[in-house]
């Protein structure tokens, strides 16, 4: 755990030597084609003692870095690009958001009902696998179905991940469109008063089919073996509540009492359900896809629709230091999500000492290597550079005339 005093000591160094202000601003300028794009972007800072200041804006990386060094925010959030510089919002008649990345926020606390290893803000390697599933499902859908290319996945520093969809078309989406994308992705619906939250119909939509395939790959290892999610009577009773067919439920309630492991109970469930399904005995209200629905309910990503929909919503910036853990919010690769280790993400104090070590035997830092590259931040920087290169490539091929995606 990181405490505030450490942050106050280390952040100045972090912002002057490690935080990649230049690349960060290069990202948000998106090639400089649109005038004052960076300038009109809202950022917010959370300073020590929870002081929160909104409507910050900067014209270039130098100005940005100066402010960072001066104010040493404990947290930086990125908002929308407005029609005027946020700093000057009071001097214009109409001040409103124009563009913003399409964003997603996955938080581990939303998985408390399906994990036994941790709860709340804690995470471990076992439950982190849920994040892997989430990243795969969402990345696939955003790319294959929606045709987005420039996705920046970022570790949120403690217990989740964020996805920034940076395609030009994505940035121009209306609130309605964002809501529609989020709802398309959302398979788990219903609050505390809805026990069974997934309903997919007999004929599976290709997106649902793809998601089921991904989730199935992990369900056995993650839910049955590692989490042993149906072990206790209470837990398997929760499972039984998801079965609308009375006969099946009753039969399983009895047989479950004789079984111990989640694996055994699941196999029992599969057997009984499949048997009843084929003999046509299931009640009309029971979907033939019940098994898939249960798998999805236990593994599919939980999405906060409001985060995705809201044009006003500010999201934590990549490369921030998480105030509670000291870890840097590093970009990560979706395709390698399996190998990502949240416990191995560098902390700000670790980086500080690495930097000192690297520089102590030199007169001056090497001119051509930016300082983060001398530390454990190097892989993250390389990922980010690759992402930026991708954005560059798109820009050079995009037709400046009306793009059908402009709607």
């Amino acid at each position: 755990m990181c405490d505030e005093n450490i942050l106050t000591d280390l952040l100045p160094v972090y912002y002057s030597r490690l935080f990649p202000s230049d690349k960060f601003c290069k990202w948000l300028s998106y090639g400089g084609d649109v005038p004052n794009y960076l300038d009109r972007r809202e950022m917010s800072f959370t300073l020590a003692d929870d002081v929160y200041i909104r409507y910050q804006s900067f014209k270039d990386a130098e100005e940005f870095q100066q402010e960072l060094k001066k104010k040493c925010p404990h947290k930086i959030d990125i908002g929308a690009v407005y029609n005027h510089k946020p700093k000057e919002r009071n001097s214009v008649a109409v001040f409103q958001p124009q563009e913003k990345e399409l964003v997603f926020d996955i938080d581990m606390t939303d998985y408390d009902d399906v994990r036994t290893c941790c709860s709340g803000a804690d995470i471990c390697h076992k439950c982190w696998k849920f994040m892997t599933i989430a990243i795969k499902c969402i990345d696939d859908t955003l790319r294959k179905d929606f045709g987005f290319h420039h996705l920046l996945w970022v570790y949120s520093g403690r217990r989740g991940v964020h996805c920034w969809v940076c395609d030009a078309a994505a940035r121009r989406l209306s609130q309605q469109a964002r809501g529609a994308v989020a709802e398309y992705l959302q398979l788990i619906k219903g609050g505390q008063n809805q026990a069974k939250k997934v309903s997919i119909g007999a004929q599976m939509h290709p997106m649902v089919e793809r998601s089921v395939k991904t989730c199935r790959q992990y369900f056995r290892t993650v839910c049955l073996d590692e989490q042993d999610i149906f072990a206790s009577t209470e837990q398997h009773t929760t499972l039984l509540k998801l079965i609308p067919d009375d006969a099946t439920r009753k039969e399983l309630a009895t047989s479950f009492l004789k079984l111990k492991t989640s694996k055994d109970k699941w196999e029992e469930l599969e057997g009984v359900f499949t048997r009843n399904l084929h003999s046509g005995k299931l009640s009309r209200s029971t979907s033939p896809r019940l098994l898939e629905e249960i798998i999805l309910q236990y593994t599919y990503p939980r999405l906060d629709i409001e985060v995705t929909k809201g044009l006003n919503h500010l999201l934590k910036a990549p490369f921030c230091v998480h105030p509670k853990t000291g870890r840097v919010c590093v970009p990560m690769e979706a395709r390698a999500a399996d190998k990502f280790d949240p416990m191995a993400v560098p902390t700000v104090s670790q980086l500080e000492s690495e930097l000192n070590e690297a520089l102590k035997n030199q007169e001056a830092p090497p001119a051509d290597v930016s300082q983060p590259m001398l530390t454990s931040l190097k892989p993250a920087m390389q990922l980010f550079n690759k992402f930026l290169a991708g954005l560059d490539r798109e820009r050079s091929t995009v037709n400046k005339k009306d793009d059908p995606m402009e709607w």
Partner: protein
């Protein structure tokens, strides 16, 4: 907040302005238009009023169709609307909206009908642009009407491509080879298409942003940002475009309103329209003191709709609510008559049971004050109507008759003292996805008297409830627009004649020729008994 971008790109706007000059006259002669160009010419004040009133009746017809639980855009829905229009003698619109099988007669849509349609649309824009509530209502029913017209049009005008192109929608036709390659995902991904019907229809692709309703409901196959649409779903695409256009147009009208209102004749007429819309918007300023925190526990049991009573009880139990719940419940209380000061006391009392005053002050107080128009843009927010609540439904917000599963709903009903018969009547309605009718039934079971009107708003529930406790309920016409009187069914309590509960055929009120409610003897008797 919304990106204030026109749905049209810069290029389209330029094109449209050129088109305006050319097509100003011909637009209104099209059998179907998106009202891009306003009418020109003179209209008398009387005609101004009459045209607008006529269109309003038509839109109300669409509103009613939504309340009687017909599946939108289905054949039954269409028949209901057309027969209702005929009954009300709204012949111009009956003509515009009905399918004309005979193509020779079809070609001649009365110029008069088109003219009325064109002018009245633009007049109502002025009357309904003022508040968000009014705009939402207007847009919803204009889009429904538009879509019905598009559906009817298409049966006799296969060249829908031209209409779409004229209105900025560029469809790409899908070649048979591609369709066959994508056979499985098309069948699985598109609602109501099977392996047999796949080849019977032409397929198109549009950018997914043009098909948001289908995307939202996952009723369409998407690939690389394009949506694959069978011809039958074109209505949804076109309607979405129309809706976007109308939203933008109403925002523009709102800005021009002060100028229009400079003509005092228009001003008074437009204001009058506001009142004719019988849906109130419950935007009480929240500065009256009729309801204080101590009263809420009892009031919630007596007169709150279940959605709010549940929120109240959850608040008492957990001393917290998620944002959705705080909004839904907070705005409701404001409209019920809780002042800002009392609201602060009320919320603080609960929240400080699980947090210190400081945290309450920092994180929650702002939002309470914001709802009362004391922060930010200082808008006094209206309480959420049922339509809005039905669309939400995350943690802590929503409608029990939609968002609770049968189990939870049953527990709630029995906790509230509803017996098994009443509960099953309610389940019948929720199973048919009619939450508002279910709530109305609930109200009638609790208050043992019929509910006047259609349940559209939690505060309406509350006010009608208070009337049964406080005022004297007149049995006859109270000057209400009778066409809104819809009875869900009789209350469970038997009348002295004993006929009420058993007689299901007597429970539906029927409108006769003059729009008066015709009641069977049994219905009349039991109403008089329960008074």
């Amino acid at each position: 907040m919304e990106f204030k971008q026109s749905p049209w790109s810069a290029e389209q706007r330029r094109q449209s302005m050129r088109a305006r000059a050319k097509d100003a006259e011909s637009a209104k002669d099209q059998p179907l238009q998106m009202y891009l160009v306003p009418p020109t010419g003179d209209v008398t004040l009387e005609e101004f009023d009459a045209l607008a009133a006529e269109r309003l009746q038509v839109l109300r017809t669409f509103e009613r169709a939504g309340h009687v639980g017909k599946q939108k855009f289905s054949v039954e829905w269409e028949e209901f609307i057309l027969s209702d229009l005929k009954r009300q003698k709204l012949n111009a619109y009956y003509q515009l909206l009905s399918r004309r099988g005979d193509s020779s007669a079809a070609a001649v849509l009365s110029a008069e009908a088109l003219r009325r349609d064109h002018i009245s649309h633009f007049i109502l824009r002025l009357a309904y642009c003022r508040t968000e509530e009014l705009r939402a209502w207007f847009i919803q029913h204009e889009v429904e009407m538009f879509r019905l017209r598009f559906q009817s049009q298409r049966t006799m005008d296969p060249d829908v491509g031209k209409f779409l192109a004229d209105n900025g929608i560029h469809l790409n036709e899908v070649e048979a080879a591609e369709r066959d390659r994508l056979r499985e995902p098309l069948v699985n991904g598109t609602a109501r298409v099977t392996a047999d019907t796949l080849e019977l229809t032409q397929w198109y692709t549009v950018p997914f942003v043009e098909a948001l309703d289908l995307v939202r409901g996952r009723r369409v196959f998407l690939r690389a940002g394009m949506a694959y649409i069978p011809a039958r779903d074109l209505g949804s695409i076109v309607a979405a475009k129309f809706r976007a256009h109308l939203q933008h147009a109403l925002a523009m009208s709102r800005r021009l309103l002060p100028e229009v209102e400079e003509d005092s004749r228009l001003k008074s007429m437009l204001n009058d329209f506001d009142k004719r819309y019988t849906g109130r918007d419950y935007s009480a300023k929240g500065d009256d003191n009729t309801v204080t925190p101590e009263m809420i526990d009892d009031l919630s049991r007596q007169s709150f709709p279940p959605c709010m009573r549940e929120l109240h009880e959850r608040l008492r139990a957990n001393h917290k609510l998620f944002h959705g719940g705080r909004q839904q419940y907070g705005l409701f209380l404001k409209a019920v008559g809780m002042s800002l000061d009392n609201a602060i006391i009320f919320w603080r009392e609960e929240f400080t049971k699980v947090m210190d005053n400081d945290k309450f002050h920092k994180q929650y107080l702002y939002n309470i004050r914001h709802n009362y128009g004391q922060e930010g843009k200082r808008a006094s927010y209206s309480a959420m109507p049922c339509s809005k609540i039905l669309m939400s439904g995350s943690n802590d917000s929503g409608c029990p008759f939609k968002h609770y599963d049968r189990d939870h709903l049953g527990k709630m009903l029995s906790a509230h003292g509803i017996d098994k018969t009443g509960s099953s009547e309610i389940f019948e309605l929720t199973e048919r996805s009619q939450p508002q009718l279910a709530c109305q039934k609930y109200w009638e079971l609790v208050h043992r008297t019929p509910f006047e009107g259609a349940m559209q708003h939690p505060n309406q529930y509350y006010e009608e409830s208070r009337k049964t406790f406080g005022g004297h309920r007149a049995k006859t016409d109270r000057g209400l627009d009778r066409s809104h009187v819809i009875r869900a069914s009789l209350p469970a309590k038997p009348s002295p004649s004993g006929a009420a509960a058993a007689n299901t055929s007597a429970t539906q009120a029927v409108w006769d020729e003059d729009g008066d409610v015709e009641m069977s003897e049994d219905l009349l008797q039991s109403l008089e008994a329960t008074g």
